[in-house]
Amino acid sequence: MTGLSRRRLLLGGAAAGAGAAATLGAARAGILPVASAEPSADAAGVNGERTVPFHGPHQAGVTSAPGAHAVYLALDLLPATDRDRLAAWLRLLTDDAARLTQGRGALADLEPELAVRPAGLTATFGLGPEAVRRAGAKAPAWLGPLPAFPEIDALEDRWSGGDAVVLLHGDDPTSIAHLARMIVRDSRSFATLRWRQAGFRRAYGSDPSGTTMRNLFGQVDGSTTPKPGDAAFDAAVWAGSEAPAWLRGGTSLVLRRIAMDLEGWDEVGVDGREASVGRRLSDGAPLTGGAETDPIDLEARDASGFTVINPAAHAARAHVADPARGIVRMGFSYDDPVEPGATDSQGRPAVSNVGLLFGSWQRDVDAQFVPMQRRLARADLLNTWTTPIGSGVWAIPPGCEEGGFVGEGLFA
């Protein structure tokens, strides 16, 4: 393995994702694991010190590679949180995030020792329609609950909505927990915690960085989603002149909590599993051949004249010819305690409560997310085993520079 590729492995998403940068100096090279033919573990704790810059034109959680862990916090504004108080709140939360993501304790932080291993920690703030209204600013037309998808939705309030959302992701759950704690502590005078959802991917170091995640159905999930730095990513994600001025350079977040019926999935063989998605389980490659990231051929036919990819397969239904008009996905699995009294799809006492925190970035929810979701709701073989139980849409303001705060454009 070359020095460069070993370094890329160790630096994880920071090396892979444009806009993200590691603060590790060349002096660090001396303590990296020795070169070997195989990917090697980070035995030096280097990843703990990895920082993703907080300040910049875009919020860092959008432009950085997803961490191994994620926490979403949704908050509802207190009645007394008016325009001035909303600005004060966003300034406080921005300050907490700006410090803790860079490995420094927050102001009035009683546990600054927890800050020193950010491990790529990022914080991304989003606002719902009520927050934009309190600010007295104009909201984009798409900001509000998604239209109902009665074919599939089984939404629960406890996983849905919120006047504001915070997404924390990084490779270290302790640093995430500490920033989450500072945020809820500093929100007490302004808002109440509506819900908290935690998710994960493979642990840092388990896969080479940049590996597409596997969801808990075992599927390679997100092979075609544009990566930060791709032209398609920029075109799909960043709000431009069509958006209110405060949102330009920002985007939107759709979060769907999708319960996965593992017991039902157990009954499906490999062929059925692959057919339902249109991709091979082993490596995520399209059933029409090639490698994981090769284009899927929806027209290819087998000897009997049927398309190789079932027209109702997930990959066929979700396919967007122009990725700039699609969405950018950021998924995390959840594996939560079984809820008291829950039963599985066969009526037995439930033994699992798993699913996917399906997040997506797009510049226009109505133009990009809704048409795709509508196609999937009408027909998607995966719907047999998946159920959306939570849903929310937030505007994600652009990033800020030092001395500024996320959302400051609302108060201009």
Partner: protein
């Protein structure tokens, strides 16, 4: 002890900018810099509050802070906590050349004695420190909700516990 080496100052200076604190020309050139300043939220019924932060002496001469003022409060005192009781500190806050002094809950602090109105979370409160040289240093503290440090406000009947 509250005296800390200057090595911390570089990162603390960046924090000053982050927090949107006083950065006018006068304070940038000041012999004394104030980093990470914050003030505990309070309502008038609390009667008192306190402000904290790190004071760094950028010169090679010792500096003494002899007083603090704020347009927001009629009375400010420089306090220390000794054996669990807070009291006005004799002679002010002394900061040796090139060193830093941390004001923190349970230790040295700027005591706000009378609260004309509430300090709300996120408020930006202006303070001025007066040095023995006659110079002044302005800074702006961010108000934060803080459940700790209450021992300061209960006179001699408090339990310092693990604060310092």
């Amino acid at each position: 002890m509250h005296v800390r080496p200057l090595a911390l100052a570089a990162s603390a200076a960046a924090a000053l900018l982050l927090a949107g604190c006083a950065t006018d020309a006068a304070s940038e050139d000041a012999a004394l810099t104030v980093t990470d300043p914050w003030v505990k939220t309070a309502v008038p019924e609390d009667m008192m509050s306190a402000a904290f932060g790190t004071l760094t002496n950028t010169t090679d001469e010792d500096i003494t802070v002899v007083a603090a003022t704020s347009d927001a409060f009629p009375t400010l005192e420089l306090h220390e906590v000794v054996d669990g009781s807070m009291q006005a500190i004799d002679g002010g806050f002394a900061i040796p050349a090139g060193e830093s002094l941390t004001l923190e809950p349970g230790g040295l602090h700027l005591m706000i004695m009378e609260l004309p109105e509430a300090i709300e979370a996120g408020d930006e409160v202006d303070f001025t420190l007066e040095l023995s040289s006659g110079e002044t240093v302005d800074f702006t503290a961010t108000a934060k909700d803080f459940d700790g440090g209450n021992e300061e406000y209960h006179g001699s009947d408090m339990d310092m516990g693990s604060s310092e």
